[in-house]
Symmetry: C2
């Protein structure tokens, strides 16, 4: 399944590298988070959410 984060990023027209720069992360880190193979830190999740004009729940919360 494709992550909500990836959907949000593509919708805003950002590339992985561009998003990474905005949140002070690397392209690889963004890619791994999108693939669900990482357990990112809260601060990074918040930075990503703000960069994509979403909230934590929007991107990282699973509706029971």
């Amino acid at each position: 399944m494709v992550s909500k984060m990836k959907l949000a990023r593509v919708e805003t027209g950002l590339t992985q590298a561009q998003l990474a720069k905005q949140v002070n992360a690397t392209r690889q880190t963004i890619g791994l988070i999108e693939k669900g193979e990482y357990n990112p830190s809260l601060n990074l999740c918040i930075a990503i959410s703000k960069a994509l004009n979403k909230t934590l729940d929007d991107l990282f919360w699973e509706g029971d």
Copy 2:
């Protein structure tokens, strides 16, 4: 300032040690997160949110 997470924990009548056990963390880790001195992982934040019947936004999102 006292964190929203601490308020939610106290409201549910849980001690730091009890919450820690439910989310497979240690009492010390819970204490440091409540004090805002940690940058916890997303998975831990999700576990804490569920244990306290809250969402990520409820506990870890700051209303701009």
